[in-house]
């Protein structure tokens, strides 16, 4: 299997640059005599995150917060708990409290647009991370995983390992999230070309491990002889694996995830999970924080959407991955 090496090179270069850029300024207080830093430390950056009930998003949030702090800002994480109402309240608080910028991971691609517009109207720039909002004129920039090509690669590996005939279940993420559908469509753009592969059930488990466990447990009552489960994220993949383990089918049914969460990367190495797709939450979070910093220093020329390459992680190449990225 061919492995994309260039994304690694580019990402490695980006990360190295970030290390160089940040290496001299890691401090919670501004350097003496540095006027620009002294000015920026007066600013506060909010990290509003869809949920912290998933390690992947914890990494995204904490990396964004830490990078903002490295750049001289006070940074605070707000957990929306996958609740658009809580998210809206966070925006109200952030706007009224004088935050300088928001690093944002939305709960709802459409519903969250109003929050971003409200912040923009109040002069608070918003920088989206990982999840897209369905507007091109609200956020300053959107740093997004290339979910579609990730699941195209995963779909090809699925066909290679499951075969061109068989039955499978798909567990979707949040139906209001564009990542959910980008992943599903990428996967189906490949797998649907093989008429012998039949999807016997498709259900949303909202990116949640417990819900995935419950959903697959129920599905297995009606469909006990499936060959594979495609999950829209790694938390659901682990929930699916637990359901299969309880049903004594874990060694017969292949589970595929998406995210590159540490637990799943280890499970790929152990042969429990067939494959996942490594996103780069740290790259996205750092880039968003740096964009915010540049914006607050006067830069205005940002591409609205910047896709970030992802990589297929299989048992063959899993040794190269860990800690939410490539091992260097």
């Amino acid at each position: 299997m061919k492995l994309p090496q260039l994304p690694t090179l580019v990402l490695a270069f980006g990360l190295a640059s970030l290390v160089v850029l940040s290496g001299c300024s890691r401090s919670d207080s501004p350097a003496a005599g540095d006027g620009a830093t002294a000015k920026s430390v007066a600013k506060r950056v909010a990290v509003i995150i869809s949920t912290l009930n998933n390690p992947w998003f914890v990494v995204l949030a904490e990396t964004a917060r830490d990078r903002a702090r490295e750049l001289g800002y006070e940074a605070t994480i707000f957990d929306s708990q996958n609740d658009p109402t809580k998210e809206s309240t966070h925006f109200d608080n952030v706007i009224s409290s004088g935050y300088g910028a928001v690093l944002f991971n939305c709960t709802d691609a459409k519903g969250s647009v109003a929050n971003v517009r409200r912040a923009k109207a109040a002069g608070v720039p918003v920088f989206c991370m990982d999840r897209e909002i369905e507007a091109s004129d609200a956020a300053v920039s959107q740093i997004l995983s290339d979910n579609y090509s990730g699941t195209v690669a995963l779909g090809r590996y699925f066909v290679k390992t499951v075969g061109e005939t068989g039955t499978y279940v798909e567990l979707l993420g949040l139906v209001a999230d564009t990542n959910t559908w980008a992943r599903s469509k990428g996967f189906h753009s490949v797998v649907d070309r093989y008429p012998g592969l039949k999807m016997v059930a498709q259900q949303s488990a909202e990116f949640d491990r417990s819900k995935a466990l419950e959903a697959l447990d129920t599905i297995l009552q009606a469909q006990p002889n499936i060959d594979a489960v495609f999950c829209g994220n790694d938390a659901m993949a682990m929930g699916a694996y637990q359901a299969l383990l309880a049903a004594r089918k874990a060694d017969k049914v292949r589970v595929f995830g998406f995210d590159g969460a540490d637990e799943v990367v280890r499970s790929v190495a152990d042969g429990k999970i067939a494959a996942t797709v490594m996103q780069y939450p740290k790259v996205m979070a750092r880039t968003a924080a740096e964009n915010a910093d540049r914006y607050l220093k006067g830069v205005r020329d940002f591409p609205q959407r910047m896709p970030v390459a992802v990589e297929l992680v299989t048992r063959e190449n899993v040794a190269k991955f860990g800690n939410y990225g490539r091992k260097e």
């Binding site: 195209v152 990428g186 780069y280 591409p303 959407r305």
Partner: protein, 197 residues
Amino acid sequence: MFAIAAVALWCFPLFHFRPLVAPATGAGVADVSSAADKFWNEQLPAARAADVAVVLAALQKNPQTAIKTYACTVGLGAAYFFVSGEGRVVARERNAVRLAVGTGADAPVVELQTGPVFGNTVRDGTGLLDVNRVSSLQDFNALAAELNQRVEARILPALRERAQPGTRVSFTGCAEAVEPVPGQPLLTIVPTRAEVR
């Protein structure tokens, strides 16, 4: 009685599985289709491709430099070559033909895909299509699927039929810019033009 019930349930199941449907996005299908037509008919024929022989020589010498010099990058991480050239068919596989580019036993080999086309290679290969010119990533991905369909419908059937070992193929196409794997073709190209001689 059970048999009748079983047959009835088989024919008229109590539950009917219907896949969930993605919500509509900004652009309609017609917009994506017309954008694909415009790219295919106007931009793609006019796009300037690198000489595949030059790119292959560069890849053999130093892959990183070759990628930096000849590939276009999309966003953060992905990169693609857009190449043109000619080669002799040395092998046919289920979903590809292999071409030797140049003469001699050690001529570099590339692969032209002849099977199903997936992903963003054609969309992103030339660097001419910008994600920020469409309303959402979903529409951009739909554009990739539209272009893949055009390759499959308009380019691949004749290539599959006529590219026999020993024939020569003139081609233009897109390839992911990845470091070569020993023993494998240097490039896997999705052809956007192919003529078999």
